[in-house]
């Protein structure tokens, strides 16, 4: 009788790449739900658009590269990229924005670098940066949160706005952003930045309607939802604690220091942590295994670098939020970080000692 030969180990944990990706998508659901509640159902349409684009682009490039399309599509990595980009861009951004972004992320940033596992940059963030510098206006056209919206926007309005730039009732996206006085409402981070640059104190700025409890109206809850999703990923051991803790820790530390020195010109640490894309980035974006550092120490450095960069750009840079830039800059340093943070192998002296 002859038996099948295989190399050890003969046992395998049941966690495959596809399952990890599915868990990531699952963990993002609470955040997406809260986002849809506060900022309109547009995010769901964006999600669909991004997913379809991602799968089509991925399949096309895999076909050109003569790879096994089905196996690779089913690893769900393209879907996670699409998801991250879809939730990062404004809910009512025109349809072509997310299509261009997703296609760029999948084709250029991911597949042209060699496909899954070979890309230097986080595809979603690289695409976000491309869109932000190419189409700054639609990329910053966030609607105010539902409770402070002047015009009520329904599910159908989202479809109309995304595909025609006008809601079904005939408002343009910029009109939807206006308050009762006809002034466009920016995101909380943007508002604060503008106000501070105009000489207002933080306390004065925070009285505006776009701000709510602890941070921006609605934004606090969105961040809280992503935080919960992130904790779920940690509990499932899909991600390790080092990167999110380092990101949040360094951002908290920097903003706390700045806030203690000058509370009038700096946002509070809690405001920083629960504004913009903080939680989404800390748990879902910075932890992208492919483009993040792989060593234990390296992950701490990588995360801390992102946190510091976010604080610097938010406080002193030209953009209200900064995660895309911070993550991309940190991605660039990964080979260097990994090289210099190799762990000490059992039985060896420290690398520095050689």
């Amino acid at each position: 009788m002859s038996f099948k030969i295989a190399s050890s180990p003969h046992q395998h944990s049941q966690k495959s790449t596809a399952q990890l990706m599915k868990l990531v998508a699952l963990a993002a659901l609470p955040g997406i739900a809260v986002q849809a509640y506060f900022f309109g159902y547009g995010v769901l349409i964006q999600l669909v658009l991004a997913s379809v684009t991602a799968l089509c682009c991925e399949a096309a490039v895999l076909a050109i590269r003569s790879k096994k399309i089905k196996v690779k599509l089913l690893d769900h990595s393209a879907l996670v990229t699409a998801l991250l980009l879809a939730v990062a861009i404004p809910s009512y951004a025109p349809w072509w924005l997310v299509v261009i972004g997703t296609a760029f992320a999948i084709i250029v940033v991911k597949q042209l670098y060699g496909g899954l596992g070979h890309n230097l940059f986080n595809p979603a963030m690289a695409a976000y940066v491309l869109l932000l510098v190419s189409f700054p206006l639609p990329m910053t056209s966030w609607l105010p949160a539902a409770p402070v919206q002047h015009v009520t926007v329904g599910p159908l309005d989202a479809v109309c706005a995304i595909f025609t730039d006008f809601s079904c009732s005939g408002y343009s996206v910029s009109q939807l952003r206006q308050d009762a006085d006809g002034i466009s409402m920016a995101t909380p981070l943007d508002t604060l930045k503008t106000d501070l640059s105009q000489g207002y104190t933080t306390a004065e700025s925070l009285k505006k309607p776009v701000f709510g409890w602890l941070s921006g109206e609605g934004w606090f809850w969105v961040n809280l939802a992503y935080l919960l999703g992130g904790l779920f990923l940690l509990q499932q051991k899909v991600i390790q604690w080092r990167i999110p803790v380092a990101v949040l820790g360094s951002l908290f530390g920097c903003s706390l220091l700045a806030w203690l020195i000058s509370p009038d010109t700096n946002a509070s640490p809690i405001f920083q942590l629960f504004s913009g894309a903080t939680m989404l980035a800390a748990f879902f974006i910075a932890t992208d295994p492919v483009s993040a550092s792989t060593t234990e120490k390296g992950r701490l450095i990588f995360g801390a670098l992102i946190g510091v960069l976010v604080f610097l750009i938010r406080s002193y840079g030209g953009y209200p939020d900064a995660f895309a830039f911070a993550v991309m800059l940190a991605n660039m340093t990964v080979p260097l970080i990994d090289y210099y943070t190799q762990p000490r192998t059992y039985g060896h002296k420290h690398k520095g000692a050689r």
Partner: protein, 709 residues
């Protein structure tokens, strides 16, 4: 600050990096007693079952052997014998598929049991009564090698000169499924402790640390009970984590020490033995039962009865599986060892050997076959799991790239192939397989490098030898050339060309032998000058030797000798005159001048010479004397003969006398008339006359020869 030993005494257990928690599935077999099987029809006993060399075979085909009888004999330190697990007939000694990942055929002894199970005489030892050497000898003779996996000869491992701080007994058994050691501890704890006591006697450690995973409470309790009141025996329960049972990992867990890379545990004062080995030692020493059986876990969902069995060494795996109700499925895998580090076998006639602790026959659902390998997503799960703190994803990258320098930099050699990285890899990359291939390639490269180095050394030696020979030839040629130049210089031909040749020679010597320093060159030159000088002097001597020899021969009494000398002198003079006309020319003018000035004297001398020669010829023929002096002397009595001889001699002498006359005639015309009256000149000494004649002849001849010049 408490010392390490105090920490250990206090029950502290440390941790190691990484590790995984695969489903252990030990509950399937750890509650059932060890089953005894029927004696199989055939036993295939590999002659070598350990790390080392096989012993010398002691039996031949057809022999009946008794249970426990040694089949091989250890004829060197790295050999341990194998024994007959039961009584029976030796059927064959042939190649059989080995219990090794390679499945290579190795020599095995085939035993046909006779079912009597008859023991050879047994001689138990009392460890208290015998010395360490006897114990070590018994351990070796009983065929004991490490039963944890590697199979290193135990008698070498426990025969140490260095002091041992800790004897660690490995009872961790961290691989899933395997409960063989667990059952052994549950059932035979006191024997194990007795075995440990023997090890303690051999090693004298500060303390005995028994490491056991906390999923074996019954076994741990049994051991503690067996230890009783013994001091410095510590049972340390370590958290269940794979691979806690790895030698390095267990050392780290129990002592917080690390074995430095490339060193042995003994170097940090630690010796580790498996519980199964301790049990085997106790059996060998106390009961004289050599290593002929062992507990094997037979598990997997294709078996009706998953259990531990006491298997005789050499039992084919097929027998074990069939005894447990094996129902194979398509694509069936059979794994020897655990699911993490065991190896799959293709042929189930492979026998149980001393290191076989588990036979696994899982279903497809139970241990999913490896699915398709995906790209590494650099998630780093492998690095988190690695107990050696390596970076497996980097090692994979460099293994694929065959970058051996980088693999060395990232310490591939420290990989213990535990499989934790491959277990956790979400992309299902068979990492360990890549590392094994890379390690094999590195070994191959090292072999090649060694071969290349040896070839280079040989080539270098050859080149050096050829160069040396060439140099020697060159030096010899240069010396010969220098001698020639010196000769030429000495013979007066030293000219600018000779000097140029000499310079050129010196140049080439400097170029070809730059090592030759200036002093040596100078010394060489001096030597050559001296040689040349000596040669010149020698030359002059040979020139002056001619007249001297004439003078010396003048004093010789024997006329015969004198004649020979004269003839020689003549010949020499002639040769000299021909070869070195210069020298002759020098002396010739003087001679000529002398003869010109005093022609009469010369003619008189010639005449005297002739007369003398004639007289001498009459008395004792000069020219004929050479061939017949003895004859003449012997026939002195014969008057007639003597008369005839005298006549002949006279005639000859006359002819001889006429010849110089003719020769000297052109030189001095007056010589002829004067010559006749001088014939009557009274003769004083025949010898002298002959010599004088010779000289005269020579001179005349010289003169004659020099005239054309």
């Amino acid at each position: 600050m408490p010392t390490l030993f105090q920490h250990i005494q206090a029950g502290k257990v440390w941790d190691f990096h990484g590790g995984i928690h695969p489903p252990s599935r030990k509950e399937r077999t750890n509650q059932k007693p060890v089953a005894l099987l029927d004696i199989p029809d055939r036993l295939y006993i590999p002659l070598r079952q350990h790390i080392g060399v096989a012993g010398k075979v002691l039996v031949k085909v057809g022999d009946r052997v008794l249970k426990g009888q040694a089949l091989t004999q250890a004829d060197n330190a790295m050999a341990v014998p194998v024994h007959a697990p039961t009584s029976g007939i030796v059927q064959a000694i042939e190649l059989h598929t080995s219990a090794h990942p390679s499945s290579l055929a190795e020599p095995a002894l085939v035993l046909a049991p006779d079912g009597m199970d008859e023991w050879r005489p047994r001689k138990p030892l009392d460890p208290e009564q015998v010395d360490a050497y006897t114990l070590l000898e018994r351990i070796q003779e009983s065929g004991i090698s490490g039963m944890g996996g590697a199979g290193f000869p135990t008698h070498i491992k426990v025969n140490v000169k260095q002091p041992v701080d800790y004897l660690i007994i490995n009872a961790v058994e961290c691989e899933p499924y395997i409960t063989a050691d667990d059952l052994l501890m549950q059932e035979r704890a006191s024997d194990i402790i007795a075995g440990i006591e023997i090890l303690v006697k051999l090693l004298s450690p500060k303390a005995v640390l028994i490491g056991i995973e906390d999923d074996k409470p019954i076994a741990a309790a049994s051991l503690k009970a067996a230890i009783g009141q013994r001091t410095n025996y510590f049972v340390r329960e370590v958290p269940t984590k794979y691979p806690s049972g790895g030698e390095k990992q267990l050392i780290q867990l129990l002592t917080n020490k690390e074995v430095p890379a490339g060193r042995r545990p003994l170097d940090i004062g630690i010796v580790m033995q498996n519980v199964g080995t301790a049990f085997a030692i106790a059996q060998a020493v106390l009961d004289d039962i050599p290593l002929i059986h062992r507990v094997v876990t037979v598990a997997g969902e294709t078996l009706a009865q998953q259990q531990n069995v006491l298997a005789l060494i050499g039992t084919p795996i097929s027998d074990l599986l069939n005894a447990c109700g094996f129902q194979p499925e398509p694509q069936q895998r059979i794994i020897v060892g655990g699911p993490m580090m065991g190896f799959a076998i293709a042929d189930w006639s492979v026998p149980v050997v001393k290191t076989t602790n588990c036979i696994l026959a899982p279903t497809e659902n139970e241990l999913g076959a490896a699915s398709e390998e995906m790209d590494c997503i650099r998630c780093g799960a492998c690095a988190d799991a690695c107990p050696a703190s390596l970076l497996p994803q980097q090692l994979l990258w460099y293994s694929k790239a065959k970058d051996q320098d980088k693999l060395a930099e990232y310490n591939l050699s420290d990989c213990i192939e535990c499989g934790a990285c491959a277990y956790v890899c979400p992309s299902e990359i068979p990492l360990v397989h890549y590392y094994r291939v890379a390690k094999a390639e590195i070994r191959e490269t090292q072999r090649e490098a060694l071969k290349a180095e040896q070839a280079k050394a040989r080539f270098d030696a050859r080149t050096e030898r050829l160069e040396r020979e060439k140099q020697e030839r060159l030096e010899r040629n240069q010396q010969l050339a220098a001698q020639r130049v010196a000769q030429q210089q000495a013979s007066g031909l030293a000219s600018q060309t000779a000097a140029a040749v000499q310079q050129a020679l010196e140049r080439t010597q400097q170029q070809t032998a730059p090592a030759l320093d200036k002093e040596q060159i100078i010394a060489e030159r001096e030597r050559k000058k001296a040689e040349a000088l000596a040669y010149q002097q020698q030359k002059q001597q040979t020139q002056t030797a001619e007249p001297a020899s004439v003078q010396t021969s003048e004093q010789t009494e024997d006329p015969r000798k004198a004649a020979i000398a004269a003839a020689l002198a003549r010949a020499k003079a002639k040769k000299q005159a021909e070869a070195q006309s210069e020298v002759a020319a020098e002396s010739a003018p003087a001679e000529t001048a002398a003869s010109d000035a005093d022609a009469k004297k010369a003619a008189v001398a010639a005449a005297i010479a002739r007369a003398k020669a004639k007289k001498l010829a009459e008395a004792q023929s000069e020219e004929a004397a050479e061939p017949a002096p003895a004859e003449t002397a012997a026939s002195d009595a014969d008057a007639k003969k003597a008369a005839v001889a005298a006549a002949i001699a006279r005639a000859k002498a006359k002819k001889l006398a006429e010849q110089p006359q003719a020769e000297t005639a052109p030189a001095s015309e007056v010589a002829e008339p004067v010559a006749v009256p001088t014939e009557s000149t009274p003769e004083q000494d025949a010898k002298k006359v002959a010599i004088a004649a010779a000289i005269a002849r020579a001179k005349a001849k010289k003169q004659q020869n020099s005239e054309p010049l």
